[in-house]
């Protein structure tokens, strides 16, 4: 093992959390020596499939959002994946492993949590309060908005007043307009989504041209991602990024983290000593590394537990008129928070988001039909393609200790223990989805759908990997404090979505980055006051 020159901070993971953290810490404390280890590599945008004639099949292979599907495709994917045993989870984890992390393949739908999401225990006697409030985090949301560039519209009554977005909203298209008329007919809330997608040329990045398949990467740089937003800043500030380096262990001695052992691309093992160790590998990768390192691991401890996704169901309305099909950024159109906050009479705790998305590409739509072949399949596709409108029901998952990430005794090819997800959709989440499907059906009916097809649970929607190293004041129910510091090892910091005590019912990207920026500030104060 080659022992390297000690640094002040070693960060594991160059995804959204790790990159925002590195950029902020290096800005606030420029004298620090910061090294970031990333298991994957930079993505070459010229290899992204959106320019190719075979782009549709790429979504089922090397550019799938699922690491398991990418590995199964037996192709060379630009993502440095490890297999996740998801056989005990109806929701399949999705992620990207490389510089920028899952922002490479995210939809860039960019909502914030609601203020109530930070105090669910106090307000609704469920879940746990965050150690800080929405308004404590608000400056960091604003910082992140500035860095990413947000397209949207000010004035949404579902949120406290916030700084107006710097760019006008994305076009909502015929699908968004059709859905909006349905929401209006019912008197329900809706609003055009905030998106980390340029609608005007800005910061050297082009405006979105509605190409569509954001989940295979954005080769025109219209969609923000951590590799093109935060890493240029961090590198300019002097952060060292080592790619294709797989962390094997956080080394702890006498209750303090002394650094990270990692394997480089040649297979050689190094030890990077550091005063502080920061882990930001997402809700599965972070738990995997810390469990493998035996850090804060107790039989009933919170580490690895309280895994939350956002369970998702769909209602898809079929219309006579031609709609947009797969035109426009797939995840960002309009949303409704009519049922986000609890109300008396709801048959569940907490709430949901109704999110109108764009449609999938022709092959993707054909591939999920039942029957998948024969005249029946052709007939269904004729009815659906360019004539359907999906409304996604996004449920707030509540923290359950039994939903968890575990490691096994087997060793994976990357040198770490194999990882397994054990997850059950709770009764409460199921009730939210069923209620939401009924409301989605209502809105599609009000919008004029001639038929509605329902998908009770969409398996390939495990984008949001949250809660497995949660923040809190009680070491028995949490892994870190509100500054991301591990209760068991004070100089070990976590800076990703693993920290979330609860998850609301919206995409977590904006909050992951805001929390990582705050944790960067918190650690900077250690050095610069």
């Amino acid at each position: 093992v080659a022992r390297l020159e000690p640094v002040d901070v070693v960060v594991v993971g160059a995804g959204l959390g790790g990159s925002a953290f590195c950029a902020r810490l290096s800005e606030r404390a420029p004298q620090l020596r910061i090294v970031c280890l990333e298991r994957g590599d930079w993505v070459d945008r010229s290899t992204m499939p959106a320019y190719r004639r075979d782009w549709q099949r790429a979504a089922q292979g090397a550019w799938s959002t699922s690491p398991n599907l990418r590995l199964a495709a037996a192709e060379t994917s630009p993502s440095a994946d490890y297999p996740v045993d998801d056989s005990a989870s109806p929701i399949k984890p999705l992620m990207w492993n490389g510089v920028g992390g899952s922002t490479i393949t995210w939809a860039a739908h960019f909502p914030r949590l609601h203020p109530s999401d930070f105090k669910t225990r106090t307000l609704d006697a469920v879940g746990d309060d965050w150690p800080f409030s929405y308004f404590d985090l608000e400056p960091y949301y604003d910082l992140n908005d500035t860095a990413m560039g947000v397209a949207g519209l000010a004035g949404d009554p579902a949120y406290p007043p916030k700084r107006p977005p710097r760019m006008p909203p994305l076009a909502i298209g015929r699908m968004g307009e059709r859905a909006a008329r349905g929401f209006n007919a019912l008197g329900w809330h809706w609003w055009p989504g905030d998106a980390a997608i340029n609608t005007v040329d800005r910061d050297g990045r082009r405006a979105c041209n509605n190409g569509g398949p954001c989940l295979m990467g954005c080769p025109i740089h219209a969609k923000a991602s951590a590799d093109i937003v935060y890493w240029p800043v961090a590198l300019e500030n002097g952060v060292t990024l080592r790619t294709r380096c797989v962390a094997q262990q956080v080394i702890v001695q006498a209750g303090r983290a002394i650094g990270v052992a990692y394997r480089d691309q040649s297979g050689e093992t190094h030890e990077q000593p550091a005063a502080f160790t920061v882990v930001a590998c997402n809700g599965i990768g972070t738990a995997r590394l810390l469990l493998a390192s035996n850090v804060g691991r107790t039989p009933d401890g919170a580490l690895g537990r309280y895994l939350m996704f956002h369970p998702i169901a769909y209602a898809r309305g079929m219309f006579d008129e031609e709609l947009d099909g797969p035109r426009g950024p797939i995840g960002s159109c309009i949303y409704s928070h009519e049922f986000y906050e609890p109300r008396p009479g709801h048959p569940f705790r907490r709430g949901l988001q109704l999110q109108v998305t764009r449609e999938n590409a022709l092959l993707s739509q054909a591939s999920r039909l039942q029957p998948a072949w024969g005249r029946g399949a052709h007939s269904l596709l004729r009815e659906e393609f360019r004539h359907s409108l999906p409304v996604m029901v996004v449920a707030e998952d509540l923290p359950e200790a039994s939903n968890r990430v575990v490691i096994t005794k087997a060793v994976a090819a990357d040198g770490l223990p194999e990882v397994r997800v054990e997850y059950t959709v709770s009764e409460n989440s199921r009730r939210i989805l069923d209620f939401g499907l009924d409301r989605a059906t209502d809105v599609l009916g009000a919008a004029g759908a001639k038929r509605v097809a329902r998908v009770p649970l969409a398996p390939l929607t495990g984008w949001h990997l949250l809660g497995t190293a949660r923040m809190g004041d009680d070491p028995a129910r949490s892994v870190t404090d509100g500054r991301g510091r591990c209760h068991a090892v004070a100089n070990l910091v976590i800076a990703d979505g693993s920290l979330f005590p609860t998850v609301g019912a919206v995409n977590p990207g904006a909050t992951i980055a805001a929390v990582a920026l705050k944790i960067g500030d918190d650690l900077a104060r250690e050095f610069v006051g």
Binding site: R53, Q56, A171, N210, A366, S367
Partner: protein
């Protein structure tokens, strides 16, 4: 595997239709030719196993070719029930080739060019639609 058998299987899975414009059969869209290349190559194991099962179920490739549409469908359904995983893999394979074919994309009212560089045009956002929502009071807690 004979060429007529391969075509018969492909066209049972992808029969096309007489819509406007009509969808071609799988063979007419070039899928059988591409499947023949796959089963001559290193990735042949799964599709070959399914094709052999179809031939066995039909009591021979020729018998499958001679069968009418209903007879072919019945055979294929038996194989689908007997080996769902490999069968789904074969269907996924032929769907990829079919829905990437220019003639199919055009028949479905789409274009043959990929999403970039030209992108797509969408109508501008009509903010007046939001008028009733803007009249609502604070919803957040």
């Amino acid at each position: 595997v004979t060429s007529p058998f391969l075509s018969a299987v492909v066209d049972t899975l992808l029969p096309g239709d007489q819509g406007s414009p009509p969808l071609p059969t799988g063979t007419a869209a070039g899928v059988a030719t591409k499947l023949a290349q796959v089963i001559a190559g290193p990735d042949r194991a799964v599709p070959d196993a399914v094709l052999q099962a179809i031939a066995r179920e039909a009591r021979g490739e020729d018998a499958f070719v001679r069968a009418d549409a209903a007879g072919r469908i019945a055979v294929v359904r038996q194989v689908e029930a007997g080996m769902p995983g490999p069968f789904q893999a074969l269907v996924a394979l032929v769907l990829q080739d079919y829905y990437e074919a220019d003639v199919v994309l055009l028949a479905m009212g789409w274009r043959v060019q990929p999403p970039q560089p030209q992108g797509h045009t969408l109508p501008p956002f009509d903010e007046t639609l939001l008028a009733p929502v803007k009249e609502r009071g604070r919803m957040w807690r």
